[in-house]
Amino acid sequence: MNATIKMTIKTGISVLALAISATASPTVMADNNPRAQMRMDFDQAVKGKTVAWVPITLGNPIGDMWTAVMRENFAKYGIKFLVRDPNFSSTAQLQAVTSLINQKPDVLIVQNANVSLLTKELRRAMDNGIYVVQVNLLSNQASDAYVGVDYVDVGRQIATDIVAECGGGKSSGKVALVQGEVTATDSIDQMKGAMEVFNKDKSIKVVSTQAAKWDSSKANALTATTLQQHPDLCATYGFWGTMQQGAAQAVKTAGLQGRVKVYASSDGPRADCDLVEQKLFHKILSFRADVQGEQISNAVLSLLQSGNKPGSKRITLLSNNYWVSGKNERNYCYDLPK
C-alpha cells in the first residue's frame, strides 16, 4: 500500500516537472543548459567582427600559409578578414596599419618588420578599442597577444645539437653561422642563443658569422668561400631555411655533402623538408607556420570572447619547434593550399 502511494507521488512529480519544462521558453532552457549556450555565446562574440592582418609580405611560403589558415578559420565563423600586402616595404606597412586603424576593425594582427616601426600605431589601435596581436616578432610596444617564436631558444636548441654532433673532439669543431640581416631581430636573437651555447664549449670554434641578408645566392657564395678556407668544417647553421638552401648547394658543389652538416631554423615550407630527405640539409628546426596560423586564429577568437578592454591584459602563445632529420618527420613541414 505504502509502495503504491510513493509510486503515485513520484509519477505526479515527474508529470509536473514535464509540464513545467514544456511551458518554459527555449531561451530560458538554453540559459540553464551550458552546452547549448556555448555556441550561442561564441557566435555572438565573434560573428560579424572584422579582423585586419598586415604581414611583412605575402608571396613567400610563411606569409601565404598564415594567411590561408586565418582565412579558413575566420570564414568558418563569419568573421570579416582584411589583408594588406606591404611587399617588404616598411613605409607601405606603416601606411596600411594607419589606414586600417581608421577603419576600426575589432582586431589588428601585425607581423613586425622591426621592433620600433609600428609601436606608436599599435598603441593608438589599442587606445581606439582595437585588440592587437603581434606575430613572430614582438615590438617595443606590448599588446593584447603575442604569437610566435622564441628565437633565442631556437638558437640555443640548434647550437646544443651542433655541440652534441661536432663537439668534444668528435670533429674539427668548426662551425659557420650564416646570419640573415645583421640588424634583424630574429637574426640577432638566434645569434645570441647560439653563441651562449658555443661559448661554453671549448671544443667548438665559430669560424664565420657572415650575413647573407636572407638571400640564398649570398649564402651560397659565402659558404663556398668559407668551405674553401675550412674544408674540415663540421657544421653550418643558417638562420632561415630558404636562405640556407643556397649554403646546402655550396656544400654539395664542394663535394662535402654528408661531411659538413647543414642546419637551419625553418618555418617549415615543404622545400626545406625535401632538402632534408635529399640529405642536403642535415637537420632543420621547424616552427611550422601552419600551426602558427592556428595559434594566431585562436588568439583572435580568445580576445573577441574575453570581454577585456583592448590593451588591458597580455597573453603569449609560443610556437613549438620540431626537429626534422628524415622522411619520418616530413609532416612537420606544410604544403601551401592550392
Binding site: 609580405t57 630558404t242 625535401d274
Partner: protein, 322 residues
C-alpha cells in the same frame, strides 16, 4: 704624374686589386691558393654576367635599372614552367622570350617616347615584377624540382673549374667581340659618344637602342639562370636588393662612364677583380657587415679620387645623360 695619367682606369683598378690581394695573402693563410682563386671567381661570375649586360647599355649612354628584375623574372618563368612539367629547352625558350620582350619594351619607351632611361627602367621594374606576380608567379620563392638535374649541373664544377665561371668567360668573350668586331658594337660606342651625330650620320639608331637593351636583358636572363643553377631556386626578393647598384659599381669603377662611350669588357673584369678580392678577403677574415660596408665604400672612394687626380674633370663629365 704624366706617366701615371696615361694609365687607363681599368689598369689602375686592377693594380689596386693586385695590391690588396698581395696584402691579404701575406696576412691570411691559404689565401693565395688555386682553390681560393676559384672560389673568388665563382662568387663573382653571376655579378659579372649582369655587369657585361650593363656595360653595353652604359657605353650607349643609357642605364638599365630593371636588369636584375628582368633576369630574375625571366629565370623564374623558366623554373615555374619546369616545375609545371615543361621540357628544359621549351622552358628556357619561354624565359628567353620573356627577357627579350622586357628588354624591347624598355628600348621602345626610351627611344620612341624619349623618356630618360633612368626613369623608364626605374619604373619598368615595378611593371615587370607586378605583372609577373599577378599572372604566373604568385609566390616569390620558386624551387627547382629535384628531378631537374640539368640546370643544377651548370652550377657544379668541371675538372675543378666552376661551370658558372666558364659561362662568364664565354659571355665576356662574346660581348668583347660584339663591341669591337661588329658594326653594331662600334655604332653603340658612336651613339654613346654623341647620339645626335650618330643619327645625323645615318646610323640605325632604333636598332642601336633596341640591341643595347635586349642584349642587356639577355645577359640578365643568363645571370638569373646561373643563380638558379647555384641555389636550385629563384627568390624574387633579390629584385628588391641593392644588387643592381653592385652591378653598376662594377661597371663604373672599372672605367665605364655614365657619360657614355667609355669602357669595355676589360673594365668589367677590372671592377669584378677589385670587388671580388675585397669581398673574398673580408669574408675569410669574418669582418662584420657594417665594417665591410665602410671598407668597401672607402676603397671605392679612394679609387674614384685617384682617378680624378689622374684624369682631371673635363667637359665630358658635364654632360651626364642618365
Amino acid at each position: 704624374m704624366h706617366i701615371l695619367g696615361s694609365f687607363k682606369q681599368e689598369s689602375l683598378v686592377a693594380l689596386v686589386a693586385l695590391i690588396l690581394a698581395i696584402s691579404f695573402s701575406l696576412s691570411l693563410d691559404s689565401y693565395a691558393s688555386w682553390g681560393n682563386a676559384i672560389a673568388l671567381m665563382r662568387s663573382m661570375a653571376i655579378l659579372g654576367v649582369f655587369a657585361l649586360g650593363m656595360i653595353i647599355v652604359i657605353i650607349g649612354r643609357g642605364i638599365d635599372l630593371s636588369q636584375i628584375a628582368i633576369g630574375m623574372v625571366s629565370a623564374a618563368i623558366s623554373v615555374k614552367l619546369l616545375a609545371a612539367g615543361m621540357t628544359l629547352p621549351l622552358a628556357l625558350l619561354a624565359g628567353l622570350a620573356a627577357a627579350m620582350a622586357m628588354g624591347s619594351i624598355n628600348a621602345a619607351l626610351i627611344h620612341a617616347l624619349a623618356i630618360p632611361p633612368l626613369f623608364t627602367t626605374l619604373t619598368s621594374v615595378f611593371v615587370f615584377v607586378g605583372l609577373a606576380r599577378v599572372s604566373i608567379l604568385p609566390s616569390m620563392i620558386i624551387n627547382l624540382p629535384s628531378q631537374q638535374t640539368g640546370l643544377v649541373a651548370v652550377g657544379q664544377n668541371w675538372h675543378s673549374v666552376p661551370i658558372p665561371v666558364m659561362v662568364f668567360g664565354a659571355c665576356a668573350l662574346l660581348t668583347h667581340l660584339f663591341l669591337h668586331a661588329t658594326t653594331m658594337g662600334r655604332f653603340i660606342y658612336a651613339y654613346g659618344d654623341n647620339a645626335e651625330t650618330a643619327r645625323l650620320s645615318g646610323m640605325p639608331v632604333t636598332a642601336i637602342v633596341i640591341s643595347q637593351y635586349v642584349l642587356c636583358a639577355l645577359l640578365g636572363f643568363v645571370a638569373g639562370l646561373l643563380m638558379v643553377s647555384t641555389t636550385a631556386m629563384v627568390d624574387l626578393k633579390t629584385v628588391n636588393s641593392t644588387m643592381i647598384f653592385d652591378v653598376i659599381l662594377v661597371v663604373v669603377i672599372g672605367g665605364g662612364s655614365l657619360a657614355g662611350a667609355r669602357g669595355g669588357v676589360a673594365s668589367v673584369l677590372a671592377g669584378l677583380l677589385l670587388i671580388g678580392v675585397l669581398l673574398n678577403g673580408m669574408t675569410l677574415m669574418d669582418v662584420n657587415a657594417q665594417l665591410q660596408n665602410i671598407i668597401k665604400g672607402g676603397v671605392l672612394l679612394a679609387v674614384i679620387m685617384v682617378d680624378h687626380w689622374l684624369h682631371p674633370y673635363d667637359e665630358e663629365d658635364a654632360r651626364q645623360s642618365v
